[in-house]
């Protein structure tokens, strides 16, 4: 009574054409804190383009370009935000619409954060945005309203799985 969801979703959206997945060639790396506390933005690492995975890399086209927000070229400083180790501020450099460098700085004044600041700042790994239609048991996504398309889809799934 289970595991029919992917088939149903595939049917609903198979006609939809297709988001252009970004490749991971413009990966962002943050160097150690010691190097980021002052000085210029560190250049982004050059990552090789990943081997093309058939379901992940789609041809450009379809709806995505019109919806893309895009980044303006330049150097931008984010507002300071507070995490468990204290205030943190991010500066990015954007060239050609892509993030080419990123710098994060921690506040260094409070004694309690100094030790933490000697560690490398962990960052999320950049990777290609994939678009898979794998078989799954359930889907996590932004909250949808009960009146939306998603509700009817869920109901269809429920019917299909009974």
């Amino acid at each position: 009574m289970r595991r029919t969801s992917a088939a149903v979703i595939g049917t609903v959206t198979s006609a939809a054409l297709i988001f252009a997945a970004k490749l991971g060639a413009d990966a962002v790396e943050t160097p150690d804190t010691g190097q980021t506390a002052s000085g210029d933005l560190a250049p982004a690492a050059e990552a090789p383009a990943p081997a093309s995975k058939a379901p992940a890399s789609r041809a450009p086209g379809g709806k995505a370009p019109a919806r893309r927000i895009g980044l303006k070229d330049g150097v931008f400083k984010g507002a300071a935000s507070v995490n468990q180790y204290g205030p943190i501020q991010v500066t990015i450099r954007v060239a050609g619409g892509k993030i080419t460098a990123l710098r994060a700085t921690h506040a260094t004044t409070p004694a309690t954060t100094r030790q933490v600041n000697t560690r490398a700042i962990p960052v999320l790994r950049q990777e290609a945005l994939s678009a898979q239609s794998a078989q799954v048991d359930t889907v996590s996504g932004a909250t949808f309203t009960s009146g939306s398309f998603r509700t009817s889809l869920q109901s269809a799934l429920a019917a299909a799985r009974r």
Partner: protein, 248 residues
Amino acid sequence: MFHVEEVMGTAVTIDIADPLPHGTLTGLVERTCAWLHEVDERFSTYKPASEVNRLDRGELPAGGCSPDMKEVLDACAELRRATGGYFDAWATGRLDPSGYVKGWSVEVASARLAAAGSLNHCVNAGGDVRTRGRPEPGRPWRIGVRHPWEPGEQAWVLSATDLAVATSGTYERGDHVIDPHSGEPATTLRSVTVTGPDLAVADAYATAAQAMGLDGLLWLARLADSGYESAAVTGDGHAYRSEGFPTV
């Protein structure tokens, strides 16, 4: 047993995989739904007589809150501190703990199901997921993370037994996440997903990170120390994830 309940302004799916008698399964589903409707009555900002609205209007005497309300308010205050104010149940100028309540209600529902003998289930409240055990013997739950532009496809597929998965995104209801410090819609991150042991916390973290914009990417990376892994997609289509994000 698979059940869909419309409650809290969204659709909640309850999938109980335990090989229990039909009557037992039906009872578990009914009690779960009753709990979710009770939460809706108490915490809905759309129902004038809800406790949250009476509290907001100053109609409750001091100490007149229900234990559930007190628990939620305490948790919201703690999360406001933990996120530097980016998760704020008072951001709109009135009390609105909705961003916490949905995940919390599912977390409680899952714990009650487990206490009542269901050790294998999945509850999904409008995209916020809590799994326990396995969908069938021999394999874990497979949880898709919705692709932020393609509704039928997944950006990631996760594999887990006991896990909470919460996603905050701008793609379903418009720019509804507001940076409480600037008052502006947060659109830099199109989608943020946080996994971890507690759905209410994961949901609040995802919302907070989205409000932070690009700063949220670094803030998310720090969460791994406390057991919360994450992934995000920027508005221009870049994907990021933490090393421990439990992809297949």
